[in-house]
């Protein structure tokens, strides 16, 4: 039962990163792929109908985490107090910059929100990456059951690391790069004209960097958290996930070569999902490793809520997620095809 919830939460967070990832990526590249006001409106219209729904996956995953693993939720969120506050403020700024920009045609107003949008997107992508790095590396959980992570210490991954050290920064850069590439492929797929051309060109450059970065990040991980690789060897049933990630990466390269927009985008979605899934699968049953004492690590067994509750929750969760998926399919169908700008009065 606890294991099932681990899978469900990993699934929700993966969907979150894949979906919100493309609008973060589009945000990171916003200033580069779109120069004129019409081009920028094209980018915003491409992500406009989706970004809020994408973010709901984070909200829903958060709610699910409180429900299934209250200890993890409370320990991790209070431990990363300041980094999280910064993320929340950035999320606020990013959300309003998408929605407020269109309400005024003053060029300074629009440039201001464009820059806010791009900067906030980049910073959140980096922070998401750094949090992933922290989850893998572990945090200084002690016998009180809580920890407090400073923003950074000496940038080394010792027993008392900060939220930022060389490893988490490495993961952060890797994640931001992949999300930028993901966003570029999304724009390549959903837009036309100069925006699509520029996105395609950027996508090629970014994805060339992804492979070497992936190798560096993997080596870094094997050094910081060797347990993951021991698990990989002892759990053959997780190998297909690895295969998915590698194959999806190949799909990205092949489709970019043949200029197949949708399959390139799906490839990068598969790559992100595969990488996250393999990481989660090898971490299991640990959710939050302790750098001080493995006995203090939070696992699915010592941090979950009661079995009856979890069973009841499952009964509710399944129809809920089916409904959510149905909404998303409907939404993507309703806004299918390339974005065409409407006359300047409505929309973004």
């Amino acid at each position: 039962m606890e294991a099932a919830w681990f899978v469900l939460i990993a699934f929700m967070l993966t969907v979150y990163v894949v979906l919100d990832g493309f609008d973060f990526g589009a945000g990171i590249l916003h200033l580069f792929v779109a120069k004129t006001d019409d081009e920028r409106r094209t980018v915003l219209s491409a992500i406009g109908p989706f970004w809020d729904g994408n973010e709901v996956w984070l909200v829903a995953a958060g709610g699910t985490l409180v429900f299934a693993f209250p200890r993890v939720y409370s320990v991790a969120f209070s431990g990363f107090y300041l980094p999280l506050m910064i993320v929340l403020w950035l999320l606020i700024l990013r959300g309003v910059s998408i929605e407020f920009r269109s309400h005024q045609s003053n060029p300074l107003w629009r440039s201001f929100w464009d820059a806010t949008f791009a900067l906030a997107s980049l910073l959140i992508a980096l922070v998401l990456g750094a949090s992933l790095g922290n989850l893998i590396r572990g945090v200084p959980l002690d016998s009180t059951g809580y920890f407090r992570a400073p923003l950074f210490t000496d940038f080394r991954t010792g027993p008392e690391p900060g939220a930022l050290d060389w490893y988490t920064i490495l993961v952060a850069v890797f994640v931001a790069l992949v999300l930028a590439g993901h966003g570029a492929l999304f724009l390549f797929w959903k837009t036309s004209g100069t925006v699509a051309q520029r996105s395609e060109r950027l996508a090629r450059r970014i994805w060339i960097l992804v492979l070497p970065m992936a190798i560096v990040a993997t080596i870094g991980t094997s050094y910081v958290q060797p347990a993951i690789f021991k698990m990989l060897i002892s759990r053959p049933w997780t190998w297909p996930l690895l295969l998915v990630a590698v194959a999806a990466l190949a799909v990205v390269y092949l489709s970019l070569g043949r200029r197949k927009e949708l399959s390139a985008f799906l490839g990068s979605a598969g790559f992100i999902a595969g990488m996250l899934a393999i990481t989660a699968a090898e971490m299991f049953p640990t959710i939050l490793p302790s750098t001080l004492d493995p006995a203090s690590s939070l696992t699915v067994w010592n941090s979950s809520s009661g079995r009856t509750g979890l069973l009841i929750g499952l009964v509710w969760w399944i129809p809920a997620v089916l409904l959510a998926i149905a909404y998303f399919v409907y939404l993507f169908r309703s806004f299918r095809g390339k974005v065409t700008l409407k006359p300047a009065t409505d929309g973004y």
């Binding site: 406009g48 109908p49 989706f50 809020d52 729904g53 709901v56 909200v59 829903a60 958060g62 709610g63 699910t64 409180v66 429900f67 299934a68 209250p70 200890r71 939720y73 409370s74 320990v75 991790a76 969120f77 209070s78 431990g79 107090y81 300041l82 999280l84 506050m85 929340l88 999320l91 606020i92 700024l93 959300g95 309003v96 929605e99 407020f100 309400h103 005024q104 009180t144 809580y146 407090r148 809520s305 009661g306 009856t308 509750g309 009841i312 929750g313 969760w317 809920a320 997620v321 409904l323 959510a324 909404y327 998303f328 409907y330 939404l331 309703s334 806004f335 409407k342 009065t345 929309g347």
Partner: protein, 445 residues
Amino acid sequence: MDALAWDRFQFGFTITYHYLFPQLTMGLALLIVVFKLIALRTGDEHHNEVARFWAKIFGVNFAVGVVTGIPMEFQFGTNWARFSDFAGGVIGLTLAMEGMFAFFAESAFLGLFLFGEKKLGPKGHFGAALMLFLGSWLSGYFIVVTNAFMQHPTGYVVGPGGALHLADVWSYLFNAWAIWEYLHTMSAAVITSSFVVCAIGAYWALMNLHQPHARICLRIGVIAGLIASFLQLFPTGDRHGRLVADHQRPTLAAMEGKFQSSARAELVIIGQPDVAAHRLDNPLIVPDVLSFLAYGSFGATVYGLEDFPRELWPDNVELLYYMYHVMVGLGTIFIAVMACAGILLWKGALYRFRPMLWILMLSAPFPYIATTAGWMTAELGRQPWIVYGLQRTDHGTSPNVSGGTVAFSTLGYLGLYLVLGIVFLYLVGREIAHGPVSRSKPASA
């Protein structure tokens, strides 16, 4: 101040701010459905224009509601870690379901509603409005269930480690407290939105602008506002009060400023509590009525604060008392205002009777005040408990987050929300100045 005080201030401030936006959007969602329905049935284009105008206001409010809502969810973990740890196994269910069942629907259909009118056609567009309404009212229910559990826990068991586990979903989801709290809150949201719709209608009428639209706003606004104002007092406010009387006796005593228990208890209309001296200064009272309102009989005994040990008293009796009286006082005034406006509407004189239009135009802020006062009553009245009777608020904080840190983040929220508020008001002001008629066409004054 220590961490607890800052935590409480931060939560109170951010939730109050957040709730300024959903209370309008939830009510407006209903009114927009009404406008669209009339437009669909009669083919009247003015109703569609009014719906489009309010959809724009809705959009701006929704955006701010969304971005200020996300910090709320995370604050449970960041500032109230021991509370999340303790109650998460129960309240997590509705926090998750709110996202899965309601927010997905809202965000999906908002895009369709705001940008898809041509694509969907009139029926489809009405459907999108309806889904938006259902989504937002459903999210209201889930969050109110969460709050009702904190007020009056049901459906849980205490697990082996001391944390709460969900045992009976139905008694959790259909907690009597949740049902009355929900009806009262939703009715309040309809009050807020009808007052706002009336205020804009009155403004146009007074300025001699957009006459047909002004009439639509005034007519629908007054009818909805009148119904909701009555529902606010009876049955929802009345039944909600009885639940407090049954399950939170010290709270009721503090709300009413009652220090000594008595049968045939009197209802206080005005008066200032003096907590040190255990009495109410210069009270204006109606004899016997409180016993009747709380327990249905004039002879029933109502307990006073002195019947309870001091550590069970809400810790801010004065503020609780004032907030409760502000809510009820404003509620009574709303009924009076809407009743007068309703009579004038019925006589066909509302659009020309300028004093009433002035009153309607200036009333718009007061439902926000009443709602905030109502929440302050509920949340201060819950003290000293964070989960009533089960966990005390001072046992709910994060042990690893210091007061200074929370002070810092609180100041961050204050600053950010101030800027957000200014930009919000500016944008809403612009939409109002544009009026209901599409910008390319000349204004039909």
